[in-house]
Protein backbone atom coordinates (compact mmCIF):
# COMPACT_ATOMS: atom_id res chain seq x y z
CA UNK A 1 0.00 0.00 0.00
CA UNK A 2 1.01 3.57 -0.58
CA UNK A 3 2.58 5.77 2.03
CA UNK A 4 4.82 3.35 3.92
CA UNK A 5 8.02 4.35 2.15
CA UNK A 6 8.03 7.78 3.73
CA UNK A 7 7.73 6.17 7.15
CA UNK A 8 10.75 3.99 6.45
CA UNK A 9 12.65 7.12 5.40
CA UNK A 10 11.73 8.80 8.70
CA UNK A 11 12.81 5.66 10.58
CA UNK A 12 16.22 5.83 8.88
CA UNK A 13 16.60 9.50 9.82
CA UNK A 14 15.67 8.74 13.44
CA UNK A 15 18.23 5.93 13.44
CA UNK A 16 20.95 8.21 12.09
CA UNK A 17 20.39 11.04 14.58
CA UNK A 18 22.41 9.42 17.43
CA UNK A 19 25.42 9.26 15.09
CA UNK A 20 25.38 13.04 14.79
CA UNK A 21 23.97 13.99 18.17
CA UNK A 22 26.03 12.47 20.92
CA UNK A 23 25.72 14.89 23.84
CA UNK A 24 23.38 13.74 26.58
CA UNK A 25 21.76 17.17 26.64
CA UNK A 26 20.68 16.96 23.00
CA UNK A 27 19.73 13.29 23.23
CA UNK A 28 17.54 14.28 26.15
CA UNK A 29 15.89 16.99 24.09
CA UNK A 30 15.38 14.51 21.26
CA UNK A 31 13.87 12.06 23.71
CA UNK A 32 11.42 14.60 25.15
CA UNK A 33 10.42 15.57 21.61
CA UNK A 34 9.73 11.93 20.75
CA UNK A 35 7.76 11.55 23.97
CA UNK A 36 5.67 14.59 23.04
CA UNK A 37 5.28 13.06 19.60
CA UNK A 38 3.83 9.87 21.12
CA UNK A 39 1.32 11.93 23.12
CA UNK A 40 0.45 13.94 20.04
CA UNK A 41 0.09 10.84 17.90
CA UNK A 42 -2.35 9.50 20.46
CA UNK A 43 -4.31 12.76 20.55
CA UNK A 44 -4.23 12.94 16.76
CA UNK A 45 -6.20 9.67 16.38
CA UNK A 46 -9.11 11.06 18.40
CA UNK A 47 -8.79 14.78 17.69
CA UNK A 48 -7.16 14.91 14.26
CA UNK A 49 -8.86 11.97 12.56
CA UNK A 50 -12.12 11.49 14.46
CA UNK A 51 -12.56 15.20 15.23
CA UNK A 52 -13.16 14.85 19.00
CA UNK A 53 -11.15 17.64 20.62
CA UNK A 54 -9.83 16.51 24.00
CA UNK A 55 -8.43 18.97 26.54
CA UNK A 56 -7.50 16.27 29.02
CA UNK A 57 -5.23 13.72 27.40
CA UNK A 58 -3.04 13.82 30.51
CA UNK A 59 -5.62 11.47 32.00
CA UNK A 60 -4.34 8.72 29.68
CA UNK A 61 -0.68 9.73 29.92
CA UNK A 62 -0.82 9.80 33.73
CA UNK A 63 -2.72 6.54 33.94
CA UNK A 64 -0.17 4.82 31.71
CA UNK A 65 2.59 6.08 33.98
CA UNK A 66 0.87 5.32 37.27
CA UNK A 67 -0.27 1.82 36.31
CA UNK A 68 3.24 0.96 35.16
CA UNK A 69 4.80 2.42 38.30
CA UNK A 70 2.34 0.81 40.71
CA UNK A 71 2.62 -2.61 39.08
CA UNK A 72 6.42 -2.43 39.16
CA UNK A 73 6.75 -1.25 42.75
CA UNK A 74 4.13 -3.57 44.24
CA UNK A 75 4.77 -6.79 42.31
CA UNK A 76 8.33 -6.46 41.05
CA UNK A 77 7.07 -7.70 37.69
CA UNK A 78 9.17 -7.58 34.51
CA UNK A 79 9.16 -3.96 33.26
CA UNK A 80 8.12 -5.09 29.78
CA UNK A 81 4.97 -6.60 31.25
CA UNK A 82 4.40 -3.48 33.37
CA UNK A 83 4.76 -1.38 30.24
CA UNK A 84 2.06 -3.40 28.48
CA UNK A 85 -0.20 -3.21 31.55
CA UNK A 86 0.28 0.56 31.60
CA UNK A 87 -0.95 0.77 28.01
CA UNK A 88 -3.86 -1.51 28.89
CA UNK A 89 -4.75 0.65 31.89
CA UNK A 90 -4.82 3.78 29.74
CA UNK A 91 -6.96 2.04 27.12
CA UNK A 92 -9.37 0.92 29.83
CA UNK A 93 -9.73 4.46 31.18
CA UNK A 94 -10.25 5.61 27.58
CA UNK A 95 -13.01 3.05 27.10
CA UNK A 96 -14.72 4.09 30.35
CA UNK A 97 -14.59 7.82 29.60
CA UNK A 98 -15.56 7.26 25.98
CA UNK A 99 -18.51 5.10 26.95
CA UNK A 100 -19.82 7.77 29.34
CA UNK A 101 -19.34 10.87 27.19
CA UNK A 102 -20.23 9.40 23.78
CA UNK A 103 -23.25 7.49 25.16
CA UNK A 104 -24.70 10.86 26.09
CA UNK A 105 -23.69 12.39 22.77
CA UNK A 106 -21.34 15.04 24.13
CA UNK A 107 -19.59 16.85 21.29
CA UNK A 108 -17.43 19.89 20.71
CA UNK A 109 -16.86 22.13 23.71
CA UNK A 110 -18.82 19.81 26.01
CA UNK A 111 -16.57 16.90 25.15
CA UNK A 112 -13.47 19.08 25.64
CA UNK A 113 -14.63 20.28 29.05
CA UNK A 114 -15.53 16.81 30.28
CA UNK A 115 -12.12 15.41 29.29
CA UNK A 116 -10.48 18.31 31.11
CA UNK A 117 -12.63 17.53 34.17
CA UNK A 118 -11.63 13.86 34.08
CA UNK A 119 -7.95 14.77 34.03
CA UNK A 120 -8.51 17.03 37.06
CA UNK A 121 -10.43 14.33 38.94
CA UNK A 122 -7.62 11.86 38.32
CA UNK A 123 -5.06 14.44 39.45
CA UNK A 124 -6.90 15.01 42.72
CA UNK A 125 -7.33 11.28 43.30
CA UNK A 126 -3.69 10.48 42.53
CA UNK A 127 -2.70 13.28 44.88
CA UNK A 128 -4.63 11.77 47.82
CA UNK A 129 -4.83 8.00 47.42
CA UNK A 130 -2.32 5.77 49.18
CA UNK A 131 -1.71 3.47 46.20
CA UNK A 132 -0.40 6.35 44.08
CA UNK A 133 1.81 7.59 46.89
CA UNK A 134 -0.40 10.61 47.57
CA UNK A 135 1.23 14.00 47.36
CA UNK A 136 4.73 12.60 47.57
CA UNK A 137 4.39 10.57 44.38
CA UNK A 138 6.07 7.31 43.47
CA UNK A 139 9.71 6.38 43.00
CA UNK A 140 10.24 3.41 40.73
CA UNK A 141 13.99 3.09 40.40
CA UNK A 142 15.60 0.49 42.51
CA UNK A 143 18.01 -1.30 40.25
CA UNK A 144 17.80 -0.11 36.68
CA UNK A 145 18.36 -2.94 34.24
CA UNK A 146 18.53 -1.82 30.63
CA UNK A 147 18.32 -5.39 29.32
CA UNK A 148 14.78 -5.62 30.64
CA UNK A 149 13.74 -2.27 29.33
CA UNK A 150 14.63 0.27 32.00
CA UNK A 151 16.85 2.89 30.47
CA UNK A 152 19.96 3.96 32.26
CA UNK A 153 21.42 5.82 29.31
CA UNK A 154 19.84 8.61 27.31
CA UNK A 155 20.76 6.76 24.12
CA UNK A 156 18.75 3.74 25.19
CA UNK A 157 15.78 5.94 26.06
CA UNK A 158 16.01 7.63 22.70
CA UNK A 159 16.19 4.31 20.86
CA UNK A 160 13.11 2.87 22.57
CA UNK A 161 11.15 6.09 21.99
CA UNK A 162 12.16 6.15 18.32
CA UNK A 163 11.04 2.56 17.80
CA UNK A 164 7.68 3.31 19.44
CA UNK A 165 7.17 6.46 17.36
CA UNK A 166 7.89 4.60 14.13
CA UNK A 167 5.53 1.84 15.22
CA UNK A 168 2.75 4.37 15.80
CA UNK A 169 3.49 5.97 12.41
CA UNK A 170 2.81 2.57 10.83
CA UNK A 171 -0.37 2.13 12.87
CA UNK A 172 -1.59 5.58 11.82
CA UNK A 173 -0.89 4.93 8.16
CA UNK A 174 -2.67 1.58 8.35
CA UNK A 175 -5.61 3.38 9.95
CA UNK A 176 -5.70 5.87 7.09
CA UNK A 177 -5.95 3.01 4.62
CA UNK A 178 -8.78 1.28 6.45
CA UNK A 179 -12.53 1.53 6.74
CA UNK A 180 -12.19 2.51 10.39
CA UNK A 181 -10.01 5.48 9.42
CA UNK A 182 -12.42 6.54 6.69
CA UNK A 183 -15.28 6.39 9.19
CA UNK A 184 -13.30 8.46 11.72
CA UNK A 185 -12.83 11.19 9.11
CA UNK A 186 -16.49 10.97 8.10
CA UNK A 187 -17.54 11.51 11.72
CA UNK A 188 -15.14 14.46 11.99
CA UNK A 189 -16.43 16.09 8.81
CA UNK A 190 -20.15 15.52 9.32
CA UNK A 191 -21.59 13.19 11.91
CA UNK A 192 -25.19 13.21 10.65
CA UNK A 193 -24.13 12.50 7.08
CA UNK A 194 -22.00 9.64 8.38
CA UNK A 195 -24.95 8.17 10.29
CA UNK A 196 -27.10 8.29 7.17
CA UNK A 197 -24.48 6.23 5.33
CA UNK A 198 -24.43 3.48 7.93
CA UNK A 199 -21.71 4.69 10.32
CA UNK A 200 -22.38 4.03 13.99
CA UNK A 201 -20.84 7.16 15.56
CA UNK A 202 -20.86 5.78 19.10
CA UNK A 203 -19.02 2.60 18.17
CA UNK A 204 -16.40 4.32 16.07
CA UNK A 205 -15.77 7.18 18.50
CA UNK A 206 -15.28 4.56 21.17
CA UNK A 207 -12.70 2.80 19.01
CA UNK A 208 -11.00 6.12 18.40
CA UNK A 209 -10.73 7.04 22.07
CA UNK A 210 -9.48 3.58 23.08
CA UNK A 211 -6.74 3.58 20.43
CA UNK A 212 -5.92 7.20 21.23
CA UNK A 213 -5.74 6.50 24.96
CA UNK A 214 -3.58 3.41 24.45
CA UNK A 215 -0.99 5.33 22.41
CA UNK A 216 -0.94 8.24 24.85
CA UNK A 217 -0.66 5.82 27.80
CA UNK A 218 2.31 4.26 26.02
CA UNK A 219 3.98 7.65 26.34
CA UNK A 220 3.27 7.64 30.08
CA UNK A 221 4.54 4.08 30.51
CA UNK A 222 7.71 5.04 28.67
CA UNK A 223 8.15 8.14 30.84
CA UNK A 224 8.28 6.01 34.00
CA UNK A 225 10.98 3.80 32.51
CA UNK A 226 13.18 6.83 31.88
CA UNK A 227 12.32 9.28 34.66
CA UNK A 228 11.64 7.01 37.63
CA UNK A 229 9.87 9.60 39.77
CA UNK A 230 6.26 10.66 39.11
CA UNK A 231 3.77 12.81 40.95
CA UNK A 232 0.19 13.87 40.30
CA UNK A 233 0.60 17.58 39.41
CA UNK A 234 3.01 16.68 36.62
CA UNK A 235 1.47 13.50 35.26
CA UNK A 236 -2.19 14.54 35.40
CA UNK A 237 -1.63 18.32 35.21
CA UNK A 238 -2.26 20.60 32.25
CA UNK A 239 1.22 20.37 30.78
CA UNK A 240 0.81 17.05 29.00
CA UNK A 241 -2.83 17.73 28.07
CA UNK A 242 -1.71 20.89 26.27
CA UNK A 243 1.35 19.28 24.74
CA UNK A 244 -0.77 16.40 23.37
CA UNK A 245 -3.03 18.72 21.41
CA UNK A 246 -0.48 21.38 20.56
CA UNK A 247 1.93 19.02 18.82
CA UNK A 248 -0.52 17.83 16.12
CA UNK A 249 -1.95 21.34 15.72
CA UNK A 250 1.52 22.72 14.96
CA UNK A 251 2.41 19.90 12.59
CA UNK A 252 -1.00 19.30 11.01
CA UNK A 253 -3.97 17.46 12.48
CA UNK A 254 -5.22 14.28 10.88
CA UNK A 255 -1.90 13.59 9.16
CA UNK A 256 0.58 10.80 9.80
CA UNK A 257 3.63 13.03 10.22
CA UNK A 258 1.99 16.10 11.77
CA UNK A 259 2.63 15.15 15.40
CA UNK A 260 6.29 14.28 14.74
CA UNK A 261 6.95 17.53 12.91
CA UNK A 262 5.04 19.50 15.55
CA UNK A 263 6.91 17.84 18.40
CA UNK A 264 10.31 18.63 16.88
CA UNK A 265 9.40 22.26 16.19
CA UNK A 266 7.79 22.79 19.59
CA UNK A 267 10.74 21.38 21.51
CA UNK A 268 13.30 23.33 19.50
CA UNK A 269 11.26 26.45 20.29
CA UNK A 270 11.05 25.53 23.96
CA UNK A 271 14.82 24.95 24.13
CA UNK A 272 15.51 28.23 22.41
CA UNK A 273 13.23 30.02 24.87
CA UNK A 274 14.99 28.38 27.80
CA UNK A 275 18.39 29.42 26.45
CA UNK A 276 17.28 33.01 26.20
CA UNK A 277 15.45 33.37 29.49
CA UNK A 278 16.96 30.68 31.67
CA UNK A 279 14.88 28.06 33.41
CA UNK A 280 11.79 29.80 34.72
CA UNK A 281 9.18 27.42 36.11
CA UNK A 282 5.96 27.53 34.12
CA UNK A 283 7.53 29.38 31.22
CA UNK A 284 6.93 26.47 28.87
CA UNK A 285 3.19 26.66 29.52
CA UNK A 286 3.18 30.37 28.65
CA UNK A 287 5.06 29.56 25.47
CA UNK A 288 2.66 26.70 24.66
CA UNK A 289 -0.33 28.98 25.09
CA UNK A 290 1.20 31.62 22.86
CA UNK A 291 2.07 29.09 20.15
CA UNK A 292 -1.44 27.61 20.31
CA UNK A 293 -3.10 30.99 19.82
CA UNK A 294 -0.76 31.92 16.97
CA UNK A 295 -1.24 28.60 15.20
CA UNK A 296 -5.04 28.63 15.38
CA UNK A 297 -5.13 32.25 14.29
CA UNK A 298 -2.57 32.26 11.48
CA UNK A 299 -1.82 28.66 10.50
CA UNK A 300 -4.85 26.54 11.39
CA UNK A 301 -3.85 23.75 9.01
CA UNK A 302 -0.45 23.39 10.64
CA UNK A 303 2.94 23.22 8.96
CA UNK A 304 1.98 20.30 6.72
CA UNK A 305 -1.15 22.27 5.78
CA UNK A 306 1.13 24.79 4.06
CA UNK A 307 1.76 22.16 1.40
CA UNK A 308 -1.36 20.02 1.58
CA UNK A 309 -4.67 21.92 1.58
CA UNK A 310 -6.51 18.77 2.62
CA UNK A 311 -5.29 19.01 6.20
CA UNK A 312 -8.30 20.02 8.31
CA UNK A 313 -8.28 23.37 10.10
CA UNK A 314 -7.71 23.41 13.83
CA UNK A 315 -10.73 25.04 15.40
CA UNK A 316 -10.95 25.35 19.12
CA UNK A 317 -14.27 23.80 20.07
CA UNK A 318 -15.81 27.00 21.38
CA UNK A 319 -19.55 27.32 21.01
CA UNK A 320 -20.36 29.44 17.98
CA UNK A 321 -23.12 31.88 18.76
CA UNK A 322 -23.52 33.77 15.50
CA UNK A 323 -23.75 32.07 12.14
CA UNK A 324 -24.29 28.60 13.53
CA UNK A 325 -25.41 26.26 10.82
CA UNK A 326 -29.00 25.13 11.08
CA UNK A 327 -29.29 21.55 12.16
CA UNK A 328 -30.72 19.54 9.31
CA UNK A 329 -32.70 17.09 11.41
CA UNK A 330 -34.40 19.95 13.26
CA UNK A 331 -35.93 21.50 10.16
CA UNK A 332 -39.57 20.82 9.55
Amino acid sequence: MRGYRSIIAVAVILALIPLVVTSNLWLNIAFTALLACLLGQGWNILGGYAGQFSFGHAVFFGTGAYVTAIVMTTTGINPWAAFVLGIGGGALVGAAIGFLVFRYGLRGSYFALVTLAFAEVFRVLANTMAITGGGSGLVVASNLRPEIFQQTSRLGAYAVAAVLVVGVLFITRALENSRTGAYFVAIRENEDAARALGVDPFGFKLRAIVLSAAITAMGGALYVQVFPYIDAPLMYGPRYSVEALLVPIIGGMGTVFGPLLGAVVLHLLAEAATMVTGDIAGLNLVLYGLVLVLMVRFLPRGLIGLFDPRVPKARLPLPRIAGRRRREAGDA
Partner: protein, 251 residues
Protein backbone atom coordinates in the same frame (compact mmCIF):
# COMPACT_ATOMS: atom_id res chain seq x y z
CA UNK B 1 -42.01 -2.13 0.82
CA UNK B 2 -42.47 0.85 3.14
CA UNK B 3 -45.56 1.17 5.34
CA UNK B 4 -45.92 4.26 7.50
CA UNK B 5 -48.86 4.22 9.92
CA UNK B 6 -50.09 7.09 12.06
CA UNK B 7 -46.67 8.67 12.48
CA UNK B 8 -46.79 11.64 14.88
CA UNK B 9 -44.13 14.06 16.12
CA UNK B 10 -44.48 16.96 18.52
CA UNK B 11 -41.85 19.63 19.15
CA UNK B 12 -43.10 21.19 22.39
CA UNK B 13 -46.49 22.67 21.53
CA UNK B 14 -46.01 22.31 17.78
CA UNK B 15 -47.56 19.28 16.17
CA UNK B 16 -45.07 18.84 13.32
CA UNK B 17 -46.45 15.60 11.90
CA UNK B 18 -49.93 14.39 12.79
CA UNK B 19 -50.86 10.75 12.19
CA UNK B 20 -49.30 10.58 8.74
CA UNK B 21 -49.64 7.29 6.89
CA UNK B 22 -48.23 6.33 3.53
CA UNK B 23 -47.19 3.30 1.51
CA UNK B 24 -44.47 2.81 -1.05
CA UNK B 25 -44.37 -0.38 -3.11
CA UNK B 26 -41.29 -1.94 -4.62
CA UNK B 27 -40.15 -0.28 -7.85
CA UNK B 28 -42.16 2.93 -7.45
CA UNK B 29 -41.10 6.55 -7.44
CA UNK B 30 -43.40 8.26 -4.97
CA UNK B 31 -43.48 12.00 -4.35
CA UNK B 32 -44.07 13.73 -1.03
CA UNK B 33 -45.08 17.34 -1.62
CA UNK B 34 -46.49 20.14 0.45
CA UNK B 35 -45.91 23.78 1.35
CA UNK B 36 -42.90 24.91 3.37
CA UNK B 37 -43.13 23.90 7.02
CA UNK B 38 -45.65 21.16 6.30
CA UNK B 39 -43.52 18.58 8.14
CA UNK B 40 -42.06 16.71 5.16
CA UNK B 41 -38.48 16.66 6.40
CA UNK B 42 -39.62 15.74 9.91
CA UNK B 43 -41.55 12.81 8.45
CA UNK B 44 -38.39 11.77 6.56
CA UNK B 45 -36.30 12.14 9.70
CA UNK B 46 -38.64 9.77 11.54
CA UNK B 47 -38.71 7.18 8.75
CA UNK B 48 -34.91 7.23 8.47
CA UNK B 49 -34.32 7.01 12.23
CA UNK B 50 -33.01 10.52 12.93
CA UNK B 51 -36.07 11.40 15.04
CA UNK B 52 -38.01 9.06 17.30
CA UNK B 53 -41.73 9.37 16.60
CA UNK B 54 -44.11 10.11 19.48
CA UNK B 55 -46.64 7.70 18.02
CA UNK B 56 -47.11 5.49 14.99
CA UNK B 57 -45.07 2.83 13.27
CA UNK B 58 -42.83 2.30 10.28
CA UNK B 59 -42.43 -1.06 8.57
CA UNK B 60 -39.79 -1.72 5.93
CA UNK B 61 -39.78 -4.91 3.86
CA UNK B 62 -42.29 -6.40 6.27
CA UNK B 63 -40.26 -5.69 9.39
CA UNK B 64 -40.96 -3.23 12.17
CA UNK B 65 -38.24 -0.54 12.07
CA UNK B 66 -39.78 2.22 14.21
CA UNK B 67 -37.12 3.97 16.28
CA UNK B 68 -34.12 2.11 14.88
CA UNK B 69 -30.93 4.16 14.41
CA UNK B 70 -30.05 5.62 11.00
CA UNK B 71 -26.94 3.46 10.66
CA UNK B 72 -28.92 0.29 11.32
CA UNK B 73 -31.50 1.32 8.71
CA UNK B 74 -28.77 2.09 6.18
CA UNK B 75 -27.48 -1.43 6.80
CA UNK B 76 -30.92 -2.83 6.00
CA UNK B 77 -31.10 -0.90 2.74
CA UNK B 78 -32.89 2.34 3.63
CA UNK B 79 -30.77 5.45 2.99
CA UNK B 80 -31.70 9.13 2.99
CA UNK B 81 -30.16 12.26 1.50
CA UNK B 82 -30.27 15.69 3.10
CA UNK B 83 -32.10 18.79 1.96
CA UNK B 84 -29.17 20.92 3.08
CA UNK B 85 -26.35 18.98 1.43
CA UNK B 86 -23.98 17.36 3.89
CA UNK B 87 -20.69 16.58 2.15
CA UNK B 88 -17.57 15.52 4.03
CA UNK B 89 -16.14 18.87 3.03
CA UNK B 90 -12.45 18.34 3.70
CA UNK B 91 -11.98 15.19 1.63
CA UNK B 92 -12.24 14.33 -2.06
CA UNK B 93 -15.34 13.26 -3.96
CA UNK B 94 -13.86 9.77 -4.20
CA UNK B 95 -13.40 9.52 -0.43
CA UNK B 96 -16.88 10.95 0.17
CA UNK B 97 -18.52 8.26 -1.92
CA UNK B 98 -16.24 5.57 -0.42
CA UNK B 99 -17.74 6.25 3.03
CA UNK B 100 -21.06 5.05 1.66
CA UNK B 101 -19.41 2.16 -0.19
CA UNK B 102 -17.76 0.92 3.00
CA UNK B 103 -21.17 -0.16 4.28
CA UNK B 104 -21.02 -3.21 1.98
CA UNK B 105 -17.27 -3.34 1.29
CA UNK B 106 -14.96 -3.57 4.25
CA UNK B 107 -11.68 -3.33 2.33
CA UNK B 108 -10.40 0.11 1.39
CA UNK B 109 -9.51 -0.90 -2.16
CA UNK B 110 -12.94 -2.37 -2.95
CA UNK B 111 -14.66 0.65 -1.41
CA UNK B 112 -12.62 3.07 -3.54
CA UNK B 113 -13.30 0.97 -6.65
CA UNK B 114 -17.02 0.97 -5.88
CA UNK B 115 -16.86 4.72 -5.36
CA UNK B 116 -15.43 5.13 -8.83
CA UNK B 117 -18.14 2.98 -10.37
CA UNK B 118 -20.84 4.99 -8.58
CA UNK B 119 -19.24 8.28 -9.68
CA UNK B 120 -19.33 7.03 -13.25
CA UNK B 121 -23.01 6.23 -12.88
CA UNK B 122 -23.96 9.69 -11.58
CA UNK B 123 -21.68 11.54 -14.01
CA UNK B 124 -19.02 12.68 -11.56
CA UNK B 125 -16.08 10.82 -13.01
CA UNK B 126 -14.06 13.95 -13.80
CA UNK B 127 -14.54 15.29 -10.27
CA UNK B 128 -13.31 12.20 -8.37
CA UNK B 129 -10.19 13.86 -7.02
CA UNK B 130 -11.67 17.30 -6.33
CA UNK B 131 -12.28 18.25 -2.71
CA UNK B 132 -16.00 18.11 -1.96
CA UNK B 133 -16.14 21.75 -0.87
CA UNK B 134 -14.98 22.90 -4.31
CA UNK B 135 -18.12 21.52 -6.00
CA UNK B 136 -20.92 23.66 -7.40
CA UNK B 137 -24.43 23.35 -5.96
CA UNK B 138 -25.35 20.93 -8.73
CA UNK B 139 -22.19 18.93 -8.04
CA UNK B 140 -22.99 18.75 -4.34
CA UNK B 141 -26.49 17.50 -5.06
CA UNK B 142 -25.06 14.82 -7.29
CA UNK B 143 -22.56 13.91 -4.59
CA UNK B 144 -25.40 13.60 -2.09
CA UNK B 145 -27.08 11.12 -4.44
CA UNK B 146 -23.80 9.30 -5.10
CA UNK B 147 -23.00 8.81 -1.40
CA UNK B 148 -26.46 7.39 -0.74
CA UNK B 149 -26.27 5.22 -3.85
CA UNK B 150 -22.93 3.77 -2.75
CA UNK B 151 -24.63 2.16 0.26
CA UNK B 152 -26.45 -0.06 -2.26
CA UNK B 153 -29.91 0.77 -0.90
CA UNK B 154 -33.26 -0.88 -1.63
CA UNK B 155 -35.17 2.30 -0.80
CA UNK B 156 -33.82 5.83 -1.23
CA UNK B 157 -35.33 8.84 0.53
CA UNK B 158 -34.47 11.96 -1.48
CA UNK B 159 -35.00 15.23 0.37
CA UNK B 160 -35.22 17.94 -2.29
CA UNK B 161 -32.34 16.78 -4.47
CA UNK B 162 -33.47 19.22 -7.17
CA UNK B 163 -33.82 22.35 -5.01
CA UNK B 164 -31.40 25.10 -5.98
CA UNK B 165 -30.72 23.68 -9.43
CA UNK B 166 -31.44 25.62 -12.62
CA UNK B 167 -33.77 24.15 -15.27
CA UNK B 168 -30.97 22.73 -17.39
CA UNK B 169 -29.34 21.09 -14.36
CA UNK B 170 -32.71 19.61 -13.43
CA UNK B 171 -33.07 18.26 -16.97
CA UNK B 172 -29.66 16.62 -16.57
CA UNK B 173 -30.46 14.90 -13.28
CA UNK B 174 -33.96 13.57 -14.09
CA UNK B 175 -32.69 10.69 -16.28
CA UNK B 176 -30.33 9.71 -13.47
CA UNK B 177 -33.19 9.36 -10.98
CA UNK B 178 -35.20 7.35 -13.51
CA UNK B 179 -32.22 5.09 -14.16
CA UNK B 180 -31.93 4.37 -10.42
CA UNK B 181 -35.51 3.13 -10.38
CA UNK B 182 -34.87 1.05 -13.50
CA UNK B 183 -31.87 -0.40 -11.66
CA UNK B 184 -34.20 -1.73 -8.96
CA UNK B 185 -34.15 1.02 -6.33
CA UNK B 186 -37.44 2.25 -4.92
CA UNK B 187 -37.58 6.01 -4.34
CA UNK B 188 -39.57 8.25 -2.03
CA UNK B 189 -38.80 11.90 -2.76
CA UNK B 190 -39.66 15.22 -1.19
CA UNK B 191 -39.75 17.74 -4.01
CA UNK B 192 -40.91 21.26 -4.69
CA UNK B 193 -40.16 21.34 -8.41
CA UNK B 194 -43.64 20.29 -9.61
CA UNK B 195 -42.55 19.78 -13.19
CA UNK B 196 -40.08 17.14 -11.96
CA UNK B 197 -42.64 15.52 -9.67
CA UNK B 198 -45.07 15.29 -12.58
CA UNK B 199 -42.49 13.73 -14.84
CA UNK B 200 -40.93 11.32 -12.31
CA UNK B 201 -43.48 10.22 -9.77
CA UNK B 202 -46.07 7.52 -10.25
CA UNK B 203 -47.97 8.67 -7.19
CA UNK B 204 -47.74 11.51 -4.72
CA UNK B 205 -48.74 12.31 -1.16
CA UNK B 206 -49.48 15.85 -0.06
CA UNK B 207 -48.61 16.93 3.46
CA UNK B 208 -50.04 20.12 4.93
CA UNK B 209 -49.78 21.25 8.56
CA UNK B 210 -48.40 17.83 9.43
CA UNK B 211 -51.25 15.82 7.97
CA UNK B 212 -51.64 13.95 4.69
CA UNK B 213 -54.44 15.83 2.87
CA UNK B 214 -54.34 14.08 -0.50
CA UNK B 215 -52.77 11.11 -2.23
CA UNK B 216 -52.95 9.19 -5.45
CA UNK B 217 -52.04 9.67 -9.09
CA UNK B 218 -49.68 12.64 -9.40
CA UNK B 219 -51.79 14.56 -11.93
CA UNK B 220 -55.01 14.05 -9.98
CA UNK B 221 -53.32 15.18 -6.77
CA UNK B 222 -51.97 18.33 -8.40
CA UNK B 223 -55.43 19.42 -9.47
CA UNK B 224 -57.11 18.50 -6.18
CA UNK B 225 -58.80 21.67 -4.78
CA UNK B 226 -57.62 20.90 -1.24
CA UNK B 227 -54.02 20.79 -2.47
CA UNK B 228 -54.29 24.02 -4.41
CA UNK B 229 -55.72 25.76 -1.35
CA UNK B 230 -52.93 24.40 0.83
CA UNK B 231 -50.42 26.10 -1.42
CA UNK B 232 -52.27 29.25 -2.46
CA UNK B 233 -54.67 29.94 0.41
CA UNK B 234 -58.34 29.57 1.17
CA UNK B 235 -60.63 30.04 -1.83
CA UNK B 236 -57.79 29.85 -4.32
CA UNK B 237 -59.16 26.77 -6.08
CA UNK B 238 -62.46 28.47 -6.70
CA UNK B 239 -60.80 31.61 -8.02
CA UNK B 240 -58.58 29.56 -10.31
CA UNK B 241 -61.59 27.75 -11.66
CA UNK B 242 -63.37 31.07 -12.13
CA UNK B 243 -60.41 32.79 -13.76
CA UNK B 244 -60.66 31.12 -17.21
CA UNK B 245 -64.40 31.82 -17.23
CA UNK B 246 -63.83 35.49 -16.42
CA UNK B 247 -61.15 35.70 -19.06
CA UNK B 248 -63.63 34.29 -21.55
CA UNK B 249 -66.28 36.77 -20.39
CA UNK B 250 -63.88 39.71 -20.77
CA UNK B 251 -63.11 38.65 -24.29
Amino acid sequence: MLEVRGLTKRFGGLLAVNEASLDVSEGEIVGLIGPNGAGKTTLFAMVSGFHKPDAGSVRFQGEEITGLSPHVLAGRGLTRTFQIVQPFAGVTVRENIAVGAHLRHRGRREALATAEAVAERVGMREMLDNPADSLTVAGRKRLEVAKALATEPRLLLFDEVLAGLNPSEIRDILPLIRSLRDGGITILMIEHVMQAVMSLCDRAYVLNNGAIIASGDTRAVASDPAVIEAYLGHGAAQRLRAAPAEAAADA
